[in-house]
């Protein structure tokens, strides 16, 4: 039988605030353990939460960018469970009245466009961090750091509209691009700014009923996400094929082993006894606030992609790639503004620059390269001052040192020899030193041309304009 997977994603995105959701503690990453804490986020008796205005602004911004309806009145709720990294014994979240609902994201997979519904986007606070390994007594003890306790998140829940792991990947990529573009979240999955859980079920292809789903947790990289879901789909199909049935459960992905494990926690674990948070009044988002947020909304990835195609005449795939990253698209546009050459600028960006960033694990903003660097390099090549091949040498030096291309060209004496008389002189010398090859060429072995060109390039240390050398050598060999 053919099976079809049904996938919905729950994404937690950390909002880019300076302070926590309900207290004034810093959200700074990497601070000394338990140093960014106060009575509120430690859950000490009597401490009261006060909502951070910026949290509301960012949540509304994200919700609008995802096409969600903003609920004028929303309410916080307590989600009750016991875990050592949750000091209050409950998480402040939103339940029956979230701040926003009913959005959608447009994705495109294999050329087919699809709308993926967003059920809701709500505000909640993060829990602390449990460390289970790395201490001398880690076999018996867990260590708790509450710096992350109370850090603001939005949870974005998709409809079960995804039908393949590829679609799930496309959805998450688009969501990430939107959250980055709107500066709601910096989406660094390694730092846990963006976390993803997946609800996965399978059903006979063509069926309209849903199968029993499992929840996959800990999918904290794009690579894990797809692999973990593929594993889960296969696992479920195998169970069904052998006549078994799927148990609704939470499974934890273990990336090292490439397997998921049942979290066999108590079956009551999903009964969170939600109730309205008595310490916070309802949240009222006035229309004026929404309008103000709309006014400051930056160009979103889909609109940007269309404009890049229109304005620069670049291929759709490249425009999509650029539009998915605000830093790259702004870098690209600034480069083109200076050098007026979209295609070469794009090629440097997606070729050498991306490769160099990957090799050094640097972000674009951390590198020493500015749009002015790439623009100058493009100008030198397009103007015939250096060859494309030399350009790569210049790029390497430029990437390592941050020096400008023109300076590198001068220092390395890289200027391309385009002086015909000089090249003719060298070509004659090469011909004179190897009369037998000249004879062969003149005897019809025209393939020998490449050997002469190579010799001239060698004599000029690769600085000759290759096209010109070709012409000159031909002329020299064919004269007399």
């Amino acid at each position: 039988m053919n099976y079809e997977p049904v996938i919905g994603l729950e994404v937690h995105a950390q909002l880019l605030t300076r302070t926590k959701c309900f207290c004034a503690c810093s959200t700074e990453f990497g601070a000394s353990p338990n140093s960014n804490t106060c009575p509120v986020c430690l859950g000490l008796p009597g401490a009261l939460p006060v909502l951070n205005r910026e949290v509301v602004r960012l949540a509304v911004r994200a919700a609008l960018a995802l096409g969600c309806h903003i609920n004028r009145i929303s309410q916080f709720a307590r989600k009750n469970y016991f875990y050592p990294d949750l000091p209050k014994g409950y998480q402040i979240s939103q339940y029956d009245k979230p701040i926003s609902e009913h959005g959608a994201i447009a994705i495109k997979v294999n050329g087919t466009a699809k709308r993926v519904g967003i059920t809701r986007l709500h505000i909640e606070e993060d829990a602390g961090k449990s460390l289970h390994d790395g201490f001398p007594d880690s076999s018996e003890k867990s260590y708790i750091d509450l710096n992350r306790s109370g850090v603001p998140l939005v949870e974005i829940v998709s409809e079960p509209d995804l039908r393949s792991t590829t679609e799930a990947y496309a959805y998450l990529s688009k969501l990430k691009a939107i959250l980055e573009t709107t500066e709601v979240c910096n989406c660094d999955m390694e730092k846990g700014n963006l976390r993803c859980d997946a609800n996965v079920s399978v059903r006979p292809a063509g069926s309209s009923e849903f199968g029993t789903r499992t929840e996959l947790k800990n999918l904290n990289s794009f690579r894990f996400l797809q692999r973990a879901m593929e594993y889960e789909i296969l696992r479920q199909v195998e169970i069904l094929e052998s006549g078994g049935h799927i148990v609704q459960e939470t499974r934890l992905w273990n990336a090292d082993e490439g397997k998921s494990y049942s979290m066999r926690s108590k079956e009551e674990a999903h009964d969170y006894r939600y109730f309205p948070e008595p310490d916070l009044l309802p949240l009222v988002v006035e229309d004026a606030f929404v309008e103000e947020t709309l006014k400051t909304m930056p160009e979103l990835p889909d609109a940007k992609k269309d404009r890049l195609i229109e304005q620069y005449g670049i291929p759709e795939g490249d425009a999509d790639w650029l539009a998915s990253s605000r830093t790259f698209s702004e870098f690209f546009e600034e480069t083109v503004r200076i050098c007026k050459k979209p295609r070469p600028a794009l090629n440097w960006l997606k070729g050498e620059l991306t490769a160099a960033l990957n090799n050094t694990s640097l972000g674009l903003q951390e590198s020493k390269i500015s749009p002015a660097h790439i623009a100058e390099l493009v100008g030198l090549i397009e103007g015939g001052v250096i060859s494309g091949k030399m350009g790569k040498v210049v790029f390497e030096e430029m990437f390592a040192t941050g020096k400008f291309p023109r300076k590198i060209v001068e220092e390395k004496n890289l200027v391309q020899i385009s002086d015909v008389t000089a090249l003719e002189k060298i070509a004659r010398e090469v011909a004179a030193s190897s009369p037998e090859n000249v004879a062969k060429y003149r005897g019809g072995r025209t393939g020998n041309l490449a050997w002469f060109v190579g010799q001239v390039m060698k004599a000029t240390k690769g600085q000759a304009n290759p096209q010109l050398v070709n012409e000159v050598v031909k002329k020299v060999l064919e004269e007399n």
């Binding site: 353990p33 804490t37 108590k266 009222v284």
Partner: protein, 103 residues
Amino acid sequence: MKISEEEVQYVAKLANLELTPEEVKTFTHQLSSILEHMETLNEVSTDDVEPMTRIPDFGELASSSTPFREDVPGPTIGTERALGNAPDPGQKYFRVPKVIADR
């Protein structure tokens, strides 16, 4: 009885409470009478009444939003004081019995 002993035990478990058999009986009885009282309240039609979850929904605070705090860092109490009441701190962390579920 509006509530069974099993339900009381289930709720107790969720709340991390251990009850003796006598306590289960007592609470089953008490919770049932509370729920019965709610039945009485349920007889009133509230179709046109907005749910009220908090007292300040009344009077001059009615429909006002929860107060906001500006996004400006304030003082923290620091690691030492944060761990001051912890029964078993270790290396700047709260240390607790192993919590991860066994495979």
